[in-house]
């Protein structure tokens, strides 16, 4: 056996370890063929392109059959929860938004709902702020599902859906940029409301967006729904029934693929979801194809909610988007200037030129923040991946005492083993893609 620069081997106490770096597979295959044991352990990831970010899967294989899967996580751990204990309650949104980077609005909303529960101002949030939150969450659900569908299809070998999915996602992200100034990680939802009102003409733009999205979604539908190859790769794959889901605490599309219509938007409404008409989509196949169909159909439901939100936005034009209590509400909103979104010049003129009291108020609230009465609260929202909840503990200070996020990705990723063991190696990819884990959320 000659030295192979692409597939070097070394002997360890655990047996021979092959490091494959590309290139010559023939020599590797012939070498493995000489091994006495059938059982092979393969490290998939953390840099494997189809593991949704830095996920490591330790696979035990017998031939092409998977006998054991052990997911290894933690490669993207950034200590967000710990960091938030050192910042004010408002600054925390900037951290929370960065956890699950595909659904920033949901992170912010869960965090802010928990703060509002602690403050006891849940019912004081202006109606328009809640409508904007719902609008943003549903737009975000679309952009997140688009990545799930696009990358999921790409990982199973279909290139086309990715192009369509990212075209739709771009349209949504552009809208985010127009509303918040940022495409991702917007820190737009703030304790007490939202950062600022929608810019002028946004409702019209949203109507056009909804029309375009509704038309464009058909492209992916035509490509994948009922496609023989796609169904062969997804039907009966990654099976997890209702008992498995409840045992493992699984929520979101994976749970709904077992036929249980559990959606927090319907069951435990927040942000006024009880005032919107929409359907909870389920499937009864418990497999990857079912989850795919659920995500596809949820896009249309999100559009329905957005349309209703637009009507409500028109009706509440000019109403406040931040709680009336000036001891909590952020003193200034941003304004669009010639050089982009930035400080409101009117506000600066007021605090620097005309009102000393305004300056003091601004300074106190921005540097010190507000105090939150001691206690704990748990607020959950239905994120694209399942129940996303914030558990906050306050000691009565200006900073959280403890922030914990119940991340659906983190929880649901546990089911990889249950979904994949006994199946083929190639089907792991489909199973993981159907869970749609985002490693930023898993590791926080």
């Amino acid at each position: 056996m000659s030295f192979d620069p692409y597939a070097a081997t070394r002997e360890t106490t655990e047996g021979t370890v092959y490091s494959v770096t590309g290139g010559d597979w023939d020599s590797l295959v012939s070498e493995i063929g000489e091994a006495k044991e059938e059982r092979i352990i393969v490290n998939m990831g953390p840099q494997h392109p189809s593991t949704h970010g830095v996920l490591r899967l330790v696979l035990e294989l017998e031939g092409e059959t998977v006998t054991e899967v052990r997911p290894g996580i933690g490669y993207l751990h950034t200590g967000i929860e710990k960091n938030m204990e050192y910042r004010s309650w408002t600054q925390g949104t900037t951290f929370a938004t960065r956890m699950d980077y595909l659904s920033p609005i949901f992170n912010e909303t869960a965090y802010c709902l928990a703060i509002e529960k602690l403050l006891g101002i849940t019912n004081d949030i202006p109606e328009r702020a809640s409508i904007i939150r719902v609008l943003m969450m549903e737009l975000n659900r679309i952009s997140s599902h688009m990545v799930a569908l696009g990358t999921g299809a790409l990982e199973l070998g279909a290139m086309g859906p990715m192009f369509f999915a990212f075209r739709e996602r771009e349209a949504v992200l552009d809208t985010f940029e127009a509303i918040t100034g940022l495409r991702m990680n917007m820190a737009y939802v703030r304790p007490g409301g939202v950062q600022q009102d929608l810019p002028a003409g946004m409702t019209q733009r949203l109507r056009i967006l909804v029309q375009e999205l509704r038309k464009n979604f058909k492209d992916n539908e035509r490509l994948l729904v009922g496609n023989t190859i796609w169904m062969k790769r997804t039907e009966g794959i990654g099976y997890l029934d209702l008992a498995g889901c409840t045992t493992l605490g699984i929520t979101g599309p994976v749970l709904r693929s077992t036929g249980l219509p559990w959606d927090l938007r319907k069951m435990q409404p927040y942000c006024g979801y009880e005032n919107y008409e929409f359907d909870v989509i389920t499937a009864d196949t418990c497999d990857v194809y079912g989850r795919f169909l659920i995500r596809m159909a949820e896009l249309e439901q999100s559009l329905r909610i957005i349309e209703q939100a637009i009507t409500k936005l028109v009706a509440t034009e000019g109403q406040p988007v931040m709680v009336a209590d000036k001891k909590i509400a952020w003193p200034a909103q941003l304004a669009l200037g010639a050089d982009g979104l930035g400080n409101s010049l009117d506000h600066i003129r007021e605090i620097m030129g005309s009102s000393m009291e305004s300056l003091i108020h601004h300074f106190k609230l921005v540097t010190e923040g507000f105090r939150v009465p001691a206690g704990q609260a748990y607020a959950a929202v239905e994120s694209p991946r399942g129940e996303l909840a914030a558990h906050l503990v306050s000691d009565g200070g200006t900073k959280p005492y403890r922030v914990h996020f119940r991340e659906p990705s983190f929880n649901n990723l546990q089911s990889t083993s249950a979904m994949s063991e006994g199946g083929m190696v190639a089907d792991i990819i489909g199973a993981v893609a159907s869970i749609d884990p985002v490693m930023g959320g898993v590791d926080r």
Binding site: G74, Y86, M267, Y378, T398, F410
Partner: protein
């Protein structure tokens, strides 16, 4: 439950000249709640009392605060109570476990919080268990709620709470050879001071900040 906090700023001994250094602020946490609890909470408590005769002994405190029901449980009874809640009261899902560290609560420094969900009845309840830093053991709930596997590993990793009976209690987010448990209050945030044009901004944990 009251605790006192001294001073107004986060860091002591930095020459706080604001005059607020001598301020003593009392923090009052929501205490034990008397019946009626309101909402479905009375029903949950009644059902649990009926299904679990040792209720009075196992549950040290019932707190209803901000529309949420919290049952404080003696740690050695945790598994029994959880099993009863799951099998008899249909709280079929546990949404994980969240640790909290209260260094000033002697003998009860480390707290584990379990949010339970009943999809059948659309209800939520929270369990709380505490243990001491010296003997940080809490029975594992993995045999009752399998999904708590990773959550308990995370809480072990971050707080050093040892969940007895867990099938493989190893670190999950931090590297295996890491020292200490990062989310304990005595563990520093870390970070380095930043210098810009000669002026230095201290790392977040060393900044003078409001309490």
């Amino acid at each position: 439950m009251s605790e006192a906090q001294e001073g107004m700023f986060g860091v002591s001994g930095t020459g706080d000249t604001s005059g607020y250094g001598g301020l003593v602020r009392t923090v009052t946490n929501p205490g034990s709640t008397e019946r009626p609890y309101g909402g479905y909470f009375d029903q949950v408590a009644d059902d649990l009392e009926r299904a679990y005769p040792d209720f009075a002994d196992a549950i040290t405190k019932v707190v209803v605060d901000r529309g949420e029901l919290t049952l404080h449980i003696k740690k050695e009874r945790l598994v029994e109570v959880a099993k009863t809640l799951r099998d008899k009261l249909l709280f079929e899902m546990c949404m994980g476990v969240s640790g909290v560290h209260y260094p000033e609560r002697a003998g009860c420094e480390l707290v584990a919080v379990y949010p339970l969900l009943s999809m059948t009845k659309n209800q939520r309840v929270r369990l709380e268990v505490c243990t001491s830093e010296v003997d940080p053991h809490i029975p594992s709930l993995v045999e009752v709620y399998g999904g708590n596997n990773w959550h308990e590993r995370e809480t072990f990793d971050m707080f050093g709470i040892i969940f007895d009976g867990h099938p493989g209690l190893t670190r999950i987010l931090m590297p295996d050879d890491w020292d200490g448990h990062p989310q304990r209050k005595d563990y520093p945030l870390g970070g380095i001071a930043v210098e810009y044009k000669g002026a230095t901004t201290p790392a977040p944990q060393n900044r003078r900040s409001y309490k």
